[in-house]
Symmetry: C2
């Protein structure tokens, strides 16, 4: 790895109690370029611009995929990644589906650790605080031809993330728009999937919802995901989540919730969730909770479902009654080194590089 | 419009008989930036790099769409655009579906004309030669949050294009992969649609085909498009093409073919094309031709269809017998000012700017 430390650290301007998530960038980034059929050196360099023309294939043909993951700092200042090998596997799954070169474990994991290590001062400490990390691969060749690019960049950038208390939201069960086709790229973290979801989400917001529950595009009869989260439904004391498929992103949080629920002896059923079943359960009183899970906010609880033009209120459970709240706490405690780690999910980031 | 002419024209290095299509860029480009809810000045500047960090939203979330169109130079050196208002309408349709700001007619059409005018020397002359023009809009804000961007760039870049004789190709009728979902972005020229098509196309190539005929994602029983072209089928003396929909791009060449066919008195039916109907017509001998149409190569004729593991040969018609060849010639002649223009499709590019 080639390391070029910044000579203009911005850390003194960073106020961990007052910053904008997503728009504040740590001092460094990882970059690595692919050309002539192979990846070059991994470079840790100051965060900053790289020259690209508007003919760059990444923006023309959307050959780009990314990951979202976090690093956590415990009360002693130790820093941990959470299940980073899952993100490594998933970025390569995405890359394959988009006909992009896969990255090596060394590029991904060592790059990640070096970046988090050198910029560990940027990781805010305290409840819910973390560093949000964005590995991505995108096509960089300049060419106006709709074909696979010959040049790529792998990069890792990161932004401090705040405690993100998320209010319960109202979600619209999609009856027209969809995020994934059969035989499409729904299971990839493909850049284009996100742009495609913005307009339907805007329309749902205009109708008084915060998010969309995506349903299958052919019939809209089955739950797929919610916003950019996987979805869970609790009926009586059993929790349900749809099986992953080529239309559903295999979320790390989803998988962690399943394992944590099982550990607690909660019954988990991974099976298709018909919209009708959920609505009937709501009407009969057996539907207890519906929530989304993802790296960004861990859990968002839902307070109402939009279905066939009606906004149907969901029961409001106390934190003691809610599986969503319980499992969120289990996960957050584990991520923040406040509890045991029977699964081996935490990966400590050693002090290897001298800080600037 | 702010005009900054290059001081280092590369035109002397350009050999119209020997250049790479898509990788050779004309001297200038148009750029215009969107910020604080509005578009700034349109600028005509030297083609070249612009600094972006890997946090640029365009590559992270695929909020990007584009157009593909051509300028043609006739034997007297006059330069024409072809139905540019169709591309203007379509880029805004794409932008809307991707929750991006629409561009103004002034930005798009005046930008186009100024760019083609200033770099008219780059347009190769002769049969099938043209300038391929790529307007695009992409998100430029630096932010690691999956939401609508607040900053965009509109750009127009261009590359000389060669006479592109295209051999008849074998196409696989897709039975698993698809390019568009119901309620998705198939009718937008969204960047992500192209990346999604690369891997399935690679697999089809490994099976001995050149392209894919995309079918509906739910049943794979209906033709949608072929590769990055709209598709036509001729049974006896009637030609069929699927109606445009939210899954099918409303191609300018498709529309032109329909009008040119009607003008010749050829019966055109715009209706869903079941795969079964095509296969039965092939077996009974009534299937005469299947072809794709698009700006890049105008027409690609198909020589075989891959269906259920078999490669079924299509009849080989002479140019005199082929509607695909006939309509292609009608269109190319019109585009190149070799025939009358009863439709008013040609738009002359006036000499307004002094050439460099
Ligand atoms: C579409 C989509 N679904 C689900 C998730 C949740 O995945 P993870 O738990 O790995 O963050 C994400 C990413 O956050 C996503 O973008
Ligand atoms: C998916 C797709 N379908 C069809 C077409 C044909 O459209 P047009 O004739 O406007 O070039 C294109 C673009 O060339 C395309 O990208």
């Amino acid at each position: 790895m080639i390391i070029q430390k910044t000579e203009n650290s911005r850390i003194s301007t960073f106020d961990p109690n007052n910053f904008s998530f997503g728009g504040t960038f740590i001092d460094h980034m990882i970059i690595c370029e692919y050309e002539d059929g192979k990846w070059g050196d991994v470079k840790l360099v100051p965060y900053g611009p790289i020259p690209f023309t508007p003919a760059m294939m990444g923006v023309n043909y959307g050959q780009a995929c990314f990951e979202g993951m976090k690093a956590y700092k415990d009360k002693d200042g130790q820093v941990f990644l959470f299940r980073p090998e899952k993100n490594f596997e998933r970025i390569n799954k995405s890359a394959k589906r988009l006909a992009m070169p896969e990255v090596t474990e060394e590029m991904f994991l060592d790059g990640l650790k070096a970046l988090v290590d050198i910029d560990r001062e940027w990781i805010p400490q305290g409840e819910g605080m973390s560093l949000y990390i964005r590995p991505l691969i995108f096509a960089t060749e300049e060419a106006l031809k709709a074909r696979v690019s010959n040049k790529y960049m792998f990069a890792i950038v990161a932004t401090p993330a705040k405690s993100y208390y998320s209010e319960p939201v109202s979600v619209k069960i999609s009856d027209h728009y969809s995020r994934a086709a059969n035989g499409g790229v729904g299971s990839a973290k493909a850049a284009g999937n996100y742009a495609a979801s913005f307009y339907p989400t805007q329309l749902a917001i205009e109708e008084g919802y915060e998010q969309i529950i995506w349903t299958d595009d052919a019939t809209h009869e089955y739950f797929e995901e919610s916003g950019t989260m996987n979805v869970f439904v609790r009926i009586n004391d059993t929790i349900y989540t749809p099986p992953t498929s080529e239309k559903i992103l295999d979320g790390v949080t989803r998988d962690s919730f399943i394992q944590l629920a099982k550990k607690r002896g909660i019954e988990v059923k991974v099976e298709p969730i018909p919209v009708k079943t959920v609505i009937e359960a709501l009407k009969s009183g057996s539907l207890k909770e519906v929530w989304g899970v993802g790296t960004a906010v861990v859990t968002t609880q839902f307070q109402a479902l939009g279905y066939q033009g009606e906004k149907l209120a969901l029961p409001r459970l106390s934190d003691d009654e809610s599986y969503a709240a319980l499992l969120k706490k289990d996960l957050v405690d584990l991520q923040n080194n406040l509890s045991e780690d029977p699964f081996g999910w935490r990966v400590v980031v050693d002090h290897v590089l001298e800080t600037v």
